[in-house]
Amino acid sequence: MGRKNRPTTEIPNGSMADIAFLLLIFFLVTTTIASDRGIAMLLPPKPDPNQPPPEVTKNDRNIFKILANSQDKLLVEDEPLTDVYELQELVKIFILNFGNPTEEGVTIYNSLPPSLKSFISTNGRRTDSSDDPTEAVVSFKADRGTSYELFVQVLDQINGAYNEVYGARVGISATEFLQLDKDDPIQKNKYTAARQGIPRAISIAEPNKIAR
């Protein structure tokens, strides 16, 4: 108690900010913010060698054919298409055609919101397009020489069409539909309600073996 001039016991903290800055800059430089997002796809199961390849029993009108050649030119339903961004609308019209719906199709039609019903009455009901969403299949066949960029763009457009339809069924946009969190029961219900009855039927055909 009586003694004076005791040496100070405090750690000098004037340079603390500088040290923290150094560390901060190190982490800033090494950070790559994880960007693991992309287009999810489910590949078909591998063919059973003991069984012959299944016959295609679907009606031609129920298959929406997209072909891409090695020059990155698109052939959609036997007609050339220059702008890949038009695909989304075309696919949406195709899925929601209801040309000749089955019983199941009629149930789905009745469950649709008015916005989609009016979309169908202006664009759909064609006899040469899909019968109903349960039957519709979008088929995409790329050549070995097609660029990967085009492949992703086409997949993006097809998925966009489906997501738009799913979202519209529960009254949200395609982006909001994609952000639904499947761990949250309320959002999970919304997700299943949106998906119910309309399969995401995208078929990626094997490319031809010979590239030019």
Binding site: A17, F27, R37, M41, L43, Y148, E149, F151, D156
Partner: protein, 153 residues
């Protein structure tokens, strides 16, 4: 002139006592979000852009395959190559790679393995479809085509 001599007594210093705390907060943020790179990527990686992106749900189930033109053209040539982990592999090695990755997972989760394909935009579909055939062969059917968020649209 006398008008201008008026001087206020307020201090003009910004208080810097809280500066270390603020910096520490930033530091912790970056420390938490940082993922140190485990693999050296030997191929060019300019990912395509898309709109309809889904997030990976469980990172532990994901394995990566990188495809693209090698960065060291003199050593490996210009043709797109496949990289897994730290090495280039041939198409016929993919089944083995997938099985190795599956062995790392729990038995119950083995079917749910997701393959994230990080493919350079300049690649052609030939190599991609060969990989897809091998993945079907290895029964790893969940595939994610990694892409970036498109800015326009």
């Amino acid at each position: 002139m006398a008008k201008f001599r008026k001087k206020s007594n307020t201090s003009q210093d910004i208080p810097t006592a809280a500066l270390p705390d603020i910096i520490f907060m930033l530091l912790f943020f970056f420390m938490v979000t940082t993922v140190l790179r485990e693999t050296d990527i030997l191929v060019k990686q300019l990912l395509p852009r898309a709109v309809q992106l889904t997030k990976l749900e469980r990172k532990s189930l994901v394995s990566y395959i990188y495809v693209g033109e090698p960065k060291l053209i003199n050593l490996y040539g210009k043709e797109p190559k496949i990289q897994v982990n730290d090495v280039f592999v041939e198409i016929s090695d993919i089944v083995q790679f997938v099985n190795q990755e599956k062995d790392k997972l729990n038995e119950a989760e083995r079917d749910q393995i997701t393959i994230a394909m990080k493919v350079d935009v300049e690649s052609k579909m030939g190599i991609i479809s060969d990989i897809q055939q091998e993945l079907r062969e290895a029964n790893a059917r969940k595939v994610l085509y990694s892409s970036l968020k498109a800015i326009d649209l």
